[in-house]
C-alpha cells in the first residue's frame, strides 16, 4: 500500500470514527496513531535520501507539532472543537500528501 493511500485512508477512518464513534479502545488508539503519525507521513516523500531513524523522528515530531499548533490556533480564536481540528488536520495531511506527491 503506498503512503498516499495510508494517509487518505487514515484521514477518512479517523474523521468517520470521530463522527460516529467506534468504541474504546479502538477510538483512542486510532486518534493517538493519527495525531502522532499521519500528518508527518505526508512529508516523507521529500525526505528521500535521509536515514530511517531521521524519517521516523521527523514523522512523529512534525505530526505532534502540527496537531498542537492547529489545536491551539482554534482555541485562541475561541472556535475550538475536536471535529473541526481533526478535519483540518486530515485535510492538511491529504493536501500535503497530494501536493508533495507522496509515493511508496
Amino acid at each position: 500500500m503506498n503512503r498516499r493511500t495510508v494517509v487518505l485512508a487514515s484521514a477518512v477512518v479517523v474523521v468517520s470514527a470521530e463522527l460516529i464513534g467506534i468504541g474504546q479502545p479502538w477510538q483512542t488508539a486510532a486518534v493517538f496513531a493519527f495525531v502522532a503519525l499521519v500528518p508527518g507521513l505526508a512529508l516523507l516523500r521529500t525526505l528521500e535520501g535521509t536515514d530511517r531513524l531521521t524519517r521516523v523522528v521527523v514523522t512523529v515530531a512534525a505530526s505532534l507539532a502540527l496537531a498542537a499548533a492547529l489545536s491551539e490556533t482554534f482555541a485562541i480564536v475561541h472556535h475550538w472543537t475536536a471535529i473541526a481540528v481533526m478535519v483540518t488536520l486530515a485535510a492538511i495531511s491529504v493536501l500535503a500528501c497530494v501536493r508533495l506527491g507522496a509515493g511508496r
Partner: protein, 892 residues
C-alpha cells in the same frame, strides 16, 4: 477408476540405521498394493550407497544429486520416479500392510493433491512419563492436534505423505534451503511445500487419512529433555523461516488452533492428573507442555528477528543476548506484585521495592553496558534501553494505578479539561494564566481527549513518563550519532542519560513536550542542516567552531522540507512552554556562530517567534509577574537557589535523597569535564558537545524560574554531559577484555544515586486512592465560586472545572503569619480566608509530607491546624477518610 501407480521414495543418510532402512524397504515390499518402484535415495554417504545397491534387491538405489539434506534427497527421488503418485516413507519407519492402498484410495477424488497418514511413535525404551502426546511432532510423529478421522489438513507429517508427481514436478519440489541436514533438527520443508501446493491449486485439497499408518522408530537418545528443548527451538526457527517465505497467516494458521485449543486442554488434563492422582508424570507433562511452547515461541521470535540467521550457533548467541532482558522484564513484572506502597519511608519507593526489582534493574543495566562494549547491534541495544526505560519510568505508573504522580500533573489535566469544555483559552483568566498563554501542549491533549471520546486526560496522563522517555530515544540517538564518531560512546551515553536525568521532567507537562521538540530541532539542525559556508571562522568565533564528524549532505528538496519542519517545531516550542524557547535560542545561537548549522537566520526566526508570541499571548501574564522576573535578572547566585529539600529539618532518609540529587548533578558535571579532557587527548570530537552542555547556563543569569532554574539547566545540559561522560570510556582500542569493567562500573555507579533521587520523594509525589477520592468529592460537592484552601499545593487539585474555584495555600502566606501558624492555627487560617464564602479547607497526608520535606511551613504547623479545626467555631468537617479531611467554613 483404475488405481494409480505409485513410486515409494525412502531417503537415508547414515549406515548406522541400516537395520531400520532394511525394515522400511521390507515393509513396502509387503504392501497389499505393490508400488511401481521403490527408490532409496542416499544423501551423500558413499558407503551406505554401496551397501544399499548390494543388499537391497528390487529397490532402485540413487545418490542425492542435489545439495546435502533431506530436501535435496527427496527432490532426487521425485525426479527419478515414474509413478503417478510419489509416496515418502522415512528410513526409520515401518509401513502398515495396507498403507499404500489407503493412500492411493484417497486419489479417487480428483481434487486431492496429496494424501498423508498417521505416524505412530515406536519408542525404543518406552515413552518417557514426562513426554506429552501433544508434542509427538518433536519426534516426527502425529500429535494430538491432528484429526482422528479422514480430513483435509494444511500439511502432512514428513515421515508419511504422498503427492501427485505432476504437481510436485510443476511446483519445483522441496526447497533445498529448508529441511533437515544430517542430525540438524530443523525442518518444515514439507509444511512449506504443502502451503505452496495449496496456494498454486486453490481448488485442491490435502487429505489426511489416519488409517494409512506407519510406525516411526524413536531412538533412546531422543527421549532426553535436551533433545526436546533443541527440537522445539528449531521448530520455532523453522516456522519463522516458513512464515518469512509463505507469509505469517498460512504458516501459523494450524499452529494458532493448536496453541489455543490443543495445548490448553493438554495442560489442564496433565495438571489435573498430576494433582488429583498425585501423578508426578502428569505434573511433568504439564510443565513440558508449557516449556515446549515457550521454547518454540523463543525460537520463532529469534527466527523472525534474524531472518537470515539459520545457524543454530549464531542463534544461541542471540538468545544469550536477549535472555537477560527477557528475564529482567519478567522479574520486574513479578516484583511489582510484592510492593506495599503504604510502607514507604522517607527514601520513597526505594524502601518498598523488593529484591527482585533490584536484580532486574541490575541485570538490564549491566547487560546493556556489556553489550555496548561488545558492539551489539543497534536493534538489540534499543530493546535493552526500552527495557531500562520501562523498568525506571513505568514502575510508578503501574504501582500507582490511576493516580497520576506529581500534583502539577493534576493541574495540567485541569487546563486540558478547560479547553475541552470552553473550546477556548483565556490568557487573562488569572488563576494558572501562564498555561493559557502557552497552550500548545494542552490544546494537543484536548484534541486527543475529545477526539478519542475520553472523559479526561487522567485516562492516560500517568503513562506520560515512559512514553516521553521512549520518544526521546530517537532524537537523542540522532544527536549523539552526529556529535560523536564512536558508536559505543553513543550507546553508552544514551544509557548514562537515562540513569542521570533524575529531575523528573518527563511527566504530563509542557516541559516534557518542549524538551522533546528541543531535542528533535537540535538533532535535525546538527545532523541534516549543516551550514553552507565552510571557510575559516573569524578569530572571535573560533571557540565556537570545529570538532564535528563529517555529515552527509541531504538533497535540496529534503533540506527545504527539514527547514519547514524545524520552523514548525520552533512554533510548537514557542507556543507550548515559557522556558524552552530560550534554551533552544541559546543552543542554536552557539551552533550558528560556530557554523555547525544553517541557515544563520534560524535563531533570528526563533527569537522573533518568541517575542511575537509573548507580545500577542503572554502580556497579561508578564504584567502580573513582571516584578519577580525583573528582580531575578542579573542574580545568578540567587537564581541557583532551589526550593527542594530543607536539610535543616529533613529526616535522615530525605537527607540521603538530597545528597543523591547533589551527588548525581555534581557527579555528572565532573564526569562530563573529565570526559572532555580525555576527548582532547584521544582527538575525539568534543567542542560542540561542550558548547551545548554549557548553552543553558546563560539562563541562570536571567531568571530563577520559581526556584527550579538549576534543575532545568541540568535537564537541558544532561544529554550533552552524558555524551561527554561516555567519552571517558570510549573510543577505546579493542583487544583488552578487562576494559568491559569500565562501562559497567560507570552505569552501576549512577544507578544507585539515580534511584534515590528519582524515587526518593514518592511519599510526596504519590497520592493514595483516599486522597484522590477526597479531591473528587471536593469538586463534586463544593459549589462554584468556593474558595479552596490547602496547607500546601501538594494534593490533587485543579483537574476538573478548576476555573470555577479560587485557591489559597498557607505555604504562600507572609513569613510572620506562617511563623504564627503552629501557635494560633485557626486565627491564621481565618485571616487567610477573610470574608470569602463558602470556603473548603483540605488537609491531606501528602500536604503534610511536602511541608515537612520542603520546610515551606514551620514544623508541626499542619498538625496543629488538623488538631485545632475539629473544635473551631464555624468550621464543619464535611468529608473524612484515612488520608484526607475536608472542612467547610460557613457563616458570614
Amino acid at each position: 477408476m483404475a488405481e494409480l501407480s505409485a513410486s515409494v521414495v525412502i531417503c537415508c543418510y547414515t549406515a548406522l540405521r541400516w537395520e531400520r532402512l532394511s525394515a522400511a524397504v521390507a515393509s513396502v515390499r509387503r504392501q497389499t498394493v505393490s508400488p511401481a518402484e521403490i527408490l532409496v535415495v542416499v544423501d551423500h554417504c558413499p558407503a551406505l550407497h554401496q551397501r544399499a545397491r548390494e543388499e537391497l534387491p528390487g529397490a532402485r538405489v540413487l545418490a542425492n544429486e542435489g545439495p546435502a539434506g533431506l530436501s535435496g534427497a527427496r527432490n532426487t527421488g521425485v525426479a527419478a520416479s515414474r509413478g503417478e503418485v510419489v509416496a515418502f516413507l522415512d528410513d526409520d519407519a515401518v509401513a502398515a500392510r495396507d498403507w499404500l492402498q489407503r493412500l492411493l484410495a484417497e486419489y479417487a477424488d480428483p481434487t486431492v493433491l496429496g494424501a498423508g497418514g498417521d505416524v505412530e511413535a515406536d519408542w525404543a525404551d518406552g515413552r518417557p512419563a514426562w513426554f506429552p502426546r501433544e508434542f509427538d511432532w518433536v519426534v516426527g510423529c502425529s500429535h494430538l492436534g491432528l484429526p482422528d478421522t479422514a480430513a483435509v489438513v494444511r500439511n502432512f507429517v514428513g515421515a508419511n505423505m504422498s503427492f501427485r508427481r505432476s504437481s510436485l514436478t510443476a511446483l519445483g519440489g522441496f526447497r533445498a534451503d529448508l529441511g533437515r541436514v544430517g542430525t540438524r533438527p530443523v525442518g518444515c520443508e514439507e509444511t512449506e511445500l504443502c502451503i505452496r501446493l495449496s496456494a498454486r491449486h486453490p481448488e485442491g485439497v490435502l487429505r489426511y487419512q489416519p488409517a494409512a499408518a506407519v510406525r516411526h522408530h524413536v531412538p533412546a537418545e531422543r527421549r532426553t529433555w535436551s533433545y526436546f528443548r533443541s527440537r522445539c527451538y528449531a521448530e520455532g526457527l523453522s516456522k519463522a523461516r516458513v512464515a518469512g517465505i509463505a507469509g505469517t497467516r498460512p504458516a501459523l494458521a494450524a499452529e494458532r488452533q493448536y496453541v489455543r485449543r490443543v495445548l490448553p486442554r493438554g495442560m489442564a488434563q496433565a495438571a489435573t492428573v498430576g494433582i488429583v492422582r498425585r501423578d508426578v508424570g502428569g505434573l511433568l507433562r504439564a510443565s513440558a507442555l508449557a516449556a515446549g511452547l515457550a521454547t518454540t515461541c523463543v525460537g520463532y521470535a529469534v527466527g523472525r528477528l534474524r531472518p537470515g540467521g539459520h545457524s543454530v550457533a549464531a542463534n544461541r548467541v542471540l538468545v544469550a543476548r536477549i535472555g537477560p532482558l527477557c528475564l529482567a522484564v519478567l522479574l520486574w513484572a513479578a516484583s511489582l506484585r510484592a510492593v506495599q506502597l503504604p510502607g514507604m519511608t522517607d527514601v520513597g519507593l526505594v524502601s518498598v521495592l523488593p529484591v527482585t526489582y533490584w536484580v532486574a534493574l541490575a541485570l538490564i543495566v549491566v547487560s546493556t553496558a556489556v553489550l555496548v562494549h561488545a558492539h551489539a547491534s543497534e536493534r538489540l541495544l534499543s530493546a535493552y534501553l526500552a527495557g531500562l526505560i520501562l523498568v525506571l519510568h513505568a514502575t510508578p505508573t503501574i504501582l500507582y494505578g490511576g493516580s497520576v504522580r506529581y500534583s502539577w500533573a493534576w493541574k495540567h489535566v485541569g487546563i486540558v479539561d478547560y479547553i475541552t469544555r470552553h473550546g477556548a483559552v483565556d490568557p487573562n483568566i488569572g488563576v494558572l494564566s501562564a498555561y493559557h498563554a502557552w497552550p500548545g501542549f494542552f490544546a494537543l491533549n484536548a484534541l486527543i481527549v475529545k477526539a478519542a471520546g475520553l472523559s479526561s486526560a487522567l485516562s492516560y496522563a500517568a503513562w506520560a513518563p515512559p512514553v516521553f522517555a521512549l520518544l526521546a530515544l530517537g532524537p537523542l540517538r540522532l544527536l549523539f550519532g552526529t556529535l560523536a564518531a564512536d558508536r559505543r560512546q553513543v550507546w553508552l551515553a544514551l544509557t548514562i542519560y537515562y540513569l542521570a536525568n533524575w529531575v523528573g521532567q518527563e511527566y504530563f507537562s509542557p516541559q516534557a513536550f518542549g524538551f522533546l521538540l528541543y531535542l528533535v530541532v537540535l538533532a535535525l539542525c546538527l545532523g541534516q542542516l549543516p551550514a553552507r559556508r565552510q571557510e575559516p571562522l573569524p578569530l572571535l568565533r573560533r571557540p565556537f567552531g570545529g570538532s564535528l564528524p563529517a555529515r552527509p549532505a541531504c538533497t535540496p528538496a529534503s533540506r527545504r522540507t527539514l527547514l519547514a519542519v524545524v520552523v514548525l517545531l520552533m512554533l510548537a516550542v514557542v507556543s507550548s512552554h515559557q522556558l524552552t524557547p530560550f534554551m533552544l535560542l541559546s543552543a542554536l545561537t552557539a551552533l550558528v556562530i560556530g557554523r555547525h548549522t544553517g541557515p544563520a537566520w534560524l535563531p533570528a526566526v526563533l527569537a522573533v517567534l518568541t517575542v511575537a508570541w509573548i507580545w500577542l499571548m503572554a502580556m497579561a501574564f508578564l504584567r502580573q509577574n513582571l516584578y519577580w522576573i525583573v528582580d531575578s535578572i542579573g542574580h545568578p547566585a540567587a537564581n541557583t537557589q532551589t526550593t527542594f529539600v530543607d536539610l535543616n529539618h529533613a529526616s535522615r532518609g530525605q537527607q540521603a535523597v538530597d545528597y543523591a540529587d547533589r551527588a548525581l548533578t555534581g557527579g555528572m558535571v565532573l564526569l562530563g569535564a573529565a570526559g572532555w579532557l580525555r576527548a582532547g587527548r584521544t582527538g575525539s570530537p568534543r567542542r560542540v558537545t561542550a558548547l551545548l552542555a554549557l548553552s543553558p547556563l546563560p539562563l541562570l543569569v536571567v531568571n530563577n524560574y520559581s526556584g527550579e532554574m538549576l534543575f532545568r539547566v541540568f535537564l537541558f545540559a544532561s544529554p550533552f554531559l552524558a555524551l561527554l561522560a561516555a567519552g571517558l570510556v570510549y573510543p577505546r582500542p579493542a583487544g583488552r577484555k578487562w576494559t568491559v569493567v569500565l562501562p559497567v562500573l560507570l552505569v552501576v555507579a549512577l544507578t544507585g544515586p539515580f534511584c534515590l533521587a528519582y524515587y526518593g520523594k514518592e511519599r510526596m509525589n504519590y497520592f493514595t486512592p483516599d486522597e484522590v477520592v477526597a479531591s473528587r468529592w471536593l469538586y463534586g460537592h463544593a459549589p462554584a465560586g468556593s474558595l479552596v484552601v490547602g496547607g500546601t499545593a501538594n494534593f490533587p487539585w485543579g483537574f476538573r472545572h478548576y476555573e470555577a474555584y479560587r485557591y489559597r495555600f498557607l505555604e504562600d502566606l507572609a513569613p510572620d503569619q506562617k511563623k504564627a501558624l503552629p501557635r494560633t492555627p485557626v486565627a491564621v487560617l481565618d485571616r487567610a480566608i477573610g470574608r470569602q464564602r463558602p470556603a473548603f479547607v483540605v488537609l491531606t497526608r501528602s500536604q503534610d509530607v511536602s511541608a515537612r520535606y520542603s520546610g515551606v511551613l514551620p514544623a508541626g504547623a499542619l498538625g496543629a491546624l488538623a488538631a485545632a479545626l475539629p473544635d473551631a467555631a464555624d468550621f464543619h468537617r464535611v468529608y473524612r477518610n484515612a488520608d484526607a479531611t475536608i472542612y467547610e467554613l460557613e457563616g458570614p
